[in-house]
């Protein structure tokens, strides 16, 4: 007898590509208590949606399983109705920072651009530590940026900068890459954005009024989740401080390969799924233990992975919906998580 979860549980939902549910009726509002923004407040936002894809971890070898899952995410975005205004790729396109991996990823992501959907990139550690970001920057430009879109100020930062752990150890670029490619690297140290980007961020938001809606993307979370796996950003406190003047900030991160949610001060934080594989939950208490994903079937390459679509309404209430392919998201989260 062979029991499969797939046989036991009828899939009730198709991927959430259509019909955005208004956040105001989400059953989670009570749980997460996010109704901090005055829903009646008028802003200059024209409602829109965007998608977040990340943690593709492409390997050099052809027809790899992670090619298929990234391609599926891109194809799903291409089918979205309404079409997303843009896509943010939230880091770790490559697994070992190799040119072939990054070029393969760009080829897949460029399908979006060809279909009229622009995408923005931030790097992850897997993209970076073979050549310290040289080839990534050549392909994708600056690793930190900001832009305004329909009344919202969007920021992307490079949060994976560590102190030099390789020179004193006389490591080759490949050894440096292999070390940090392990989540539990215990010689790599904690990463962050560094002083230069903090100064840039200060300048970037200096002239923005406190009622400006802000969305910030970083590869790693801007809160202290589990430093052991670099589920953190060393200077997150300083970033939160710079952004503390705003009424509300939505912070979206990758790296954790899992559904996770938190709130700090004026910020709401949410983690994106990977298209490659799911990470386990670390040995710490979750701030919102109900906002989690199911266990994945390790035999199904489409389980445990996915991406997200985010709808921003005219009052700057967001709704992030995980798009999954194998009954990963609990029923009460399927309509999205209010941001």
């Amino acid at each position: 007898m062979k029991i499969s979860r797939r046989n036991l549980i009828k899939l009730s939902a198709t991927a959430g590509l259509t019909a955005f549910t208004a956040t105001s009726i989400s059953p989670l509002l009570g749980v997460v208590n996010v109704a901090q923004a005055n829903p009646r407040k008028k802003t200059k936002i024209t409602p829109f949606n965007f998608a977040v894809i990340g943690d593709a971890h492409l390997y050099e070898m052809p027809n790899h399983r992670f090619d298929k899952t990234l391609e599926r995410a891109v194809n799903d975005v291409l089918k979205m109705k309404p079409k997303p205004d843009f896509v943010v790729f939230i880091g770790d396109l490559a697994n070992f920072g190799k040119k072939e991996e990054l070029l393969k990823g760009k080829r897949i992501l460029d399908k979006l651009r060809k279909a009229g959907i622009p995408y923005k990139m931030i790097p992850g550690e897997h993209d970076w530590y073979l050549d310290l970001g040289k080839f990534w920057k050549k392909l994708f430009g600056s690793p930190y940026w900001s832009f305004d879109h329909k009344g919202v100020h969007f920021i992307g930062m490079n949060s994976i900068l560590v102190e030099d752990y390789w020179t004193a150890r006389d490591m080759t670029p490949w050894e440096r890459m292999l070390a940090i490619a392990e989540l539990e690297c215990h010689i790599c140290g904690l990463w962050g954005v560094g002083e230069k980007q903090l100064q840039w961020l200060k300048e970037d938001v200096k002239n923005l009024s406190p009622d400006t809606p802000i969305v910030i993307f970083t590869h790693s979370p801007l809160w202290n989740y589990y430093p052991r796996w670099n589920f953190q950003t060393k200077d997150a406190d300083a970033i939160r401080d710079i952004l503390s003047k705003f009424e509300k900030v939505i912070a979206i991160h990758g790296h954790v390969h899992q559904v996770v949610y938190n709130r700090t001060g004026n910020m709401v934080h949410i983690g994106n799924l990977a298209t490659s594989w799911p990470w386990p939950y670390p040995p710490v208490e979750l701030p919102y233990p109900k906002i989690v994903m199911h266990r994945a079937d390790p035999g199904d390459i489409y389980d445990g992975v996915g991406f997200a679509t985010t709808y921003i309404d005219d009052t700057f209430l967001g709704n992030m919906k995980y798009v999954e392919w194998a009954d990963l998201i609990p029923k009460d989260l399927k309509n999205g998580i209010p941001l």
């Binding site: 392990e182 539990e184 799911p278 939950y281």
Partner: protein, 155 residues
């Protein structure tokens, strides 16, 4: 001292020098402190070998390692075996599950269940869950490993 020790210097596959302890037939607890220390060192050597294999793409063919999905051996749930494993279709031991992972997600060749490599992988997984209560048959939860502040997670 009731343990005779023959120190054999050898290089293991992992390149680690190890000490071989051979107990004589009369050795039994209580052991002396030094004996306990040596026995523990033997265990840690096996755990270390398991750690290296756990992070090695050599077990598979698609570049993946055990650690892709199981950092610090998280969610390997060694204390929940044996249990009915739906993807194997029968009650499985931890070693059978490790072989399933090598064969399916890693696309590799299974290891003989009594091989040194298998023992090492099992030792690493169990050591990263030291202190956990045995829960054979538990299919409900995935368990994080022991909380590690620094280092590899073992002495």
């Amino acid at each position: 001292m009731r343990i005779k020790r023959y120190l054999l210097t050898g290089v293991l596959a992992a390149g680690i020098l190890t000490t071989l302890i051979i107990k004589d037939s009369k050795s039994k607890p209580p052991f002396e402190e030094e004996e306990l220390k040596l026995m523990n060192e033997e265990l840690i050597n096996l755990v270390k070998k398991g750690d290296e294999l756990w992070h090695s793409p050599k077990l598979g063919t698609n570049g993946l390692t055990c650690a892709n999905c199981h950092p610090d051996a998280a969610n390997s749930n060694p204390h929940t075996f044996p249990k009915y494993q739906s993807n194997i279709g029968k009650v499985a031991t931890l070693r059978e599950m490790i072989n399933w992972c090598i064969q399916i997600p890693l696309k590799g060749k299974t290891l003989p269940e009594d091989s040194e490599e298998m023992k090492a992988l099992e030792a690493y997984s169990i050591y990263m869950h030291r202190g956990f209560k045995l829960k054979p048959g538990d299919n409900e939860k995935a368990y994080p490993p022991v909380r590690v502040e620094s280092g590899p997670g073992y002495p």
